[in-house]
């Protein structure tokens, strides 16, 4: 491995505050094996005492070449691979891919399939946010929320397991709809979950929202302005916490999100606390969407008419959805064969991770941890 300083050489780093020793610059490798970098992220920190002068993320430790694999698989065969990118929100990934290919093939999933998709995707959003909350709180030092969120996430995973047999990498959807009809009692399970989870979310908030230490640790930490967010292409809750009301479910509705009534929670300061609040409210909004979907779910087929051998016309398509972490886009180029010519994924975690440097400059080491947590990155998606 090269000297870590070479990574930092191209960065315009702030000058160390020369009130104490001159030689106090400290270069620390945080990761790839570190308890708080959520997998295998390696952050090289240049520190002046405890103050962060600059950061450099080194990624790629989890690179599996998903996009390249796509070029050697048929459209259908590639579908399970997308689950392995953001393995915390596998359902969203599948939804985005399926819809993108559907767009390319110019077919549309039947209404019932769309409702099932919305229900599962929103459940997945809650699960993803719960996992984020648990790990984020653990990074900041609150151990207990982790176990509470995992307890409640279990209920969602149970629904997934009953529906498609898998808990994490679900492969729930197929191009053209869903493969499986909902199981007996699916609606009851979802309704039970809808009643079960709001008090639990209140419980998390009780532990954290009014906790003085939590508020002090997150307020004014990792601030990022709306302009910076836009410049970097940051999306999702991070962008919304900076006050930009941008949610693809509303802005460019996909599936049948236009039929549902829900709000887009936004923050004002763009600090870690706002991002926390935005995600907490998003969980409640997701519950609203699920409730409407479960009540209105129509009868009918779940699979559109899809050719046995998928040969999309020559062309390209970009389709993006609002994944739990931000805008998840699929850019697929077809050369008319059974395999895509090129697939490019726009992963929200990867784009959001760029904001890390802006967010932590001038702050303390402990804030780096808080900010990595609040960005809600999944390394599987960053490295693909």
């Amino acid at each position: 491995m090269a000297d870590p300083t070479t990574y930092l050489s191209h960065l315009e780093l702030g000058e160390p505050d020369k009130t104490f020793l001159d030689s106090s610059e400290l270069i620390i490798n945080m990761g790839p094996q570190h308890p708080a970098t959520h997998g295998v992220l390696r952050v090289i920190l240049k520190l002046d005492g405890e103050k962060v002068l600059g950061t450099e993320c080194v990624i790629g430790y989890l690179h599996r070449g998903v996009e390249k694999i796509a070029e050697h698989r048929t459209y259908t065969m590639f579908n399970p691979y997308v689950d392995r990118m953001d393995y915390v929100a596998a359902v969203s990934n599948g939804l985005g891919y399926c819809e993108a290919v559907e767009k390319l093939l110019n077919i549309e999933a039947p209404p019932r399939a769309k409702y099932i998709r919305v229900i599962l995707t929103e459940l997945n959003r809650i699960a993803s946010h719960q996992l984020w909350l648990g790990t984020h709180a653990l990074d900041i030092g609150a151990m207990t929320p982790l176990f509470y969120t995992f307890r409640d996430r279990e209920e969602i995973l149970k629904i997934f397991e009953k529906y498609c047999g898998a808990r994490l990498t679900t492969h729930a959807f197929r191009i053209g709809g869903c493969q499986y009809e909902t199981y007996e009692g699916f609606e009851q399970d979802v309704k039970k979950f809808l009643d079960f989870v709001p008090p639990r979310i209140d419980e998390y908030e009780e532990l954290l929202t009014t906790n003085r230490i939590w508020v002090e640790r997150t307020r004014e930490v990792g601030k990022i302005s709306a302009a910076d967010c836009k410049a970097l292409g940051v999306t999702g809750p991070v962008l919304r916490a900076s006050g930009v009301k941008w949610d693809i479910r509303k802005a460019l509705p996909y599936a049948n999100y236009s039929e549902f009534d829900f709000d887009i929670p936004t923050g004002a300061n763009g600090d870690t606390f706002d991002r926390y609040m935005v995600r907490m409210q998003e969980m409640r909004q997701s519950l609203r969407i699920i409730r409407q979907a479960v009540e209105r779910i129509p009868e009918g087929p779940i699979m559109a008419k899809v050719p046995k051998v998928m040969k999309p016309p020559v062309g390209e398509v970009y389709h993006s959805i609002e994944a739990p972490k931000g805008e998840l886009g699929y850019f697929i180029v077809s050369d008319g064969s059974t395999q895509p010519y090129r697939v490019r994924v726009r992963p929200p975690s990867f784009v959001n991770l760029q904001a890390l440097d802006i967010m932590v400059r001038g702050q303390l080491v402990a804030d780096v941890i808080a900010v990595i947590g609040t960005l809600d990155i999944v390394l599987g998606e960053v490295d693909r």
């Binding site: 104490f20 020793l21 001159d22 030689s23």
Partner: protein, 101 residues
């Protein structure tokens, strides 16, 4: 065994004092020179406390004053040391040969 008298303590203190003086005079590292000064102060303290067994508690009070003084001296001395190290990147006394920087 000979009973332990005040003289025993005084001899210990004297030996400690001489050790401190040797350290101050011969070492180059400022930190160790400062520590040797602490040794000297401690030798004095030991004397004061040993005498206080005979002459009353005044010696102990003075020992406390000496400890206070040692704290002040250490703080200022180490402050100077840091300022010096910052400018000359060394902690050797015999390189402190300029009256300015």
């Amino acid at each position: 065994m000979i009973p332990i008298t005040t003289l025993h303590y005084l001899v210990t203190a004297a030996a400690l004092f001489v050790l401190g003086v040797i350290g101050v005079l011969t070492r180059r590292n400022v930190v160790i020179v400062l520590m040797s000064i602490e040794l000297i102060l401690n030798a004095v303290n030991l004397n004061l406390v040993a005498f206080s067994r005979i002459w009353g508690l005044h010696g102990q009070v003075f020992a406390i004053f000496v400890i206070t003084d040692a704290a002040a001296e250490a703080a200022v001395g180490l402050g100077i040391l840091i300022a010096f190290f910052r400018n000359k990147e060394t902690v050797n006394v015999d390189e402190v040969d300029l009256l300015k920087w």
